[in-house]
Amino acid sequence: MFVRTALLVLRKDVAIELKSREILYTTLLFALSCVLIFSIAFVKQGEPLEDAAAGILWIAIEFAGTLALGRTFERERYAETLRALLLAPSSRAAIYVGKVLGILALLAVVEVLLVPLVALLFHAPLFSAPLLLVGLLATGTVGFGAVGALFAAMLVRARSRDVMLPILLYPITIPVMIAGVRGTAALLQDPPDAATVTMWIAILAAFDVVFVTLSLWTFEPVMTE
């Protein structure tokens, strides 16, 4: 029942997004604009600042992710459908998992376009160790999405949710940003510093385990008014 409910929520979110493409286009445009503007500032005479690519990649993911989180839960607020989901006779944590999976799917699409663009504009050898790159992006995105979905759900009925979401989310996800940026910077070394990247992936994985567990545990009580 748990997995079925989570997959139903994911499938519903994908169906809505495929119809409207509203969040995907907004998020993509924002992320790509962000990278383009930074490339104008940080690439001088064809030479980017050292490690700029690592920071800009993760800033674009975090900002675009925040936008996607807000819009995804705004959709559930519009006709109070989140309350209908919470009334389903399965674990309320399954609803949370379904929403997180939707966010992750959306951010995965954004990252598929974002990474080659950053590699191109910043002459960054991001694909020199593709498995390590996927490991960094996957663990970092899961950590960000897991915490973000919990906060976005908690704030769905708050008047100042658009302001409160980044205020709550960014301090908590600082470890994700640090690990993501430092891991990506190690990946950009010539040759890539695999040991350092692996260490940062392990830190991100530990963050994911802690925060996914906490979120699953707290989702039901925080969503019960």
């Binding site: 079925r4 519903k12 959709r75 006709a79 459908t81 209908a84 389903a88 399965s90 008014e225």
Partner: protein, 241 residues
Amino acid sequence: MQVSPPDVTVDFTNVQLVDVSRHFGRRRALAKVSLTAASGDIVGLLGPNGAGKSTLIGVLATLAAPTSGEVRYGGRTATAIGAPLRARIGLLAHELFLYPELTARQNLAFFAQLYGLDAAALVPAALERAGLAERADDDVSGFSRGMRQRLALERALLHQPRLVLFDEPFTGLDDRAVSLVADRLREIADAGAIVVLATHDLDVADGLVTRAAMIKGGRLVADEPAVAGLRARYRAVVGSA
């Protein structure tokens, strides 16, 4: 996707609120409300705006926890029963719990599956009852308020809940739609459901509800069998209607 029937082992024939209070910070939304509703009852929760009707509906729906007191579903609390209890509760609120981007059919199918029901068997009949069979594949965003309300009603009743909660279900409806919703409400009460209807539309409630529970400032000020002339009674108990 594999579907399984809803957990019908959780059943009850009455719902009892025992000294239920609910505070939001320092604001008291409900104060020691005690009320019992039984199978076949249509209990009208009547009161002015801000009286605590929606909070009470939220507490009954398990969406809000009482600050003190408890709600017993056939003698057991929501905590004791757990998630399967929600398979026996249907809620229709002023906000309709429908995804405007999805079609009427997709909305009903999604909620049917969420309750572990066979969507292919249930959805066509529900669309028929809502009078929307011909608009089944249209997006809900293009529907009128009345059409959405009828669809939302069927969504709330798809899983044949034992406890049916309506929070201002007549808002924005024309006379014909009000009459259709009221008829459906009588039908489900006759079938043995416990119906709790929060409304400030006394004209509709008069002749529809079997019991009147009047709330003012979070307090239950009357709980009595409904009689003709509900407006006059309401005025006497609560104040101006």
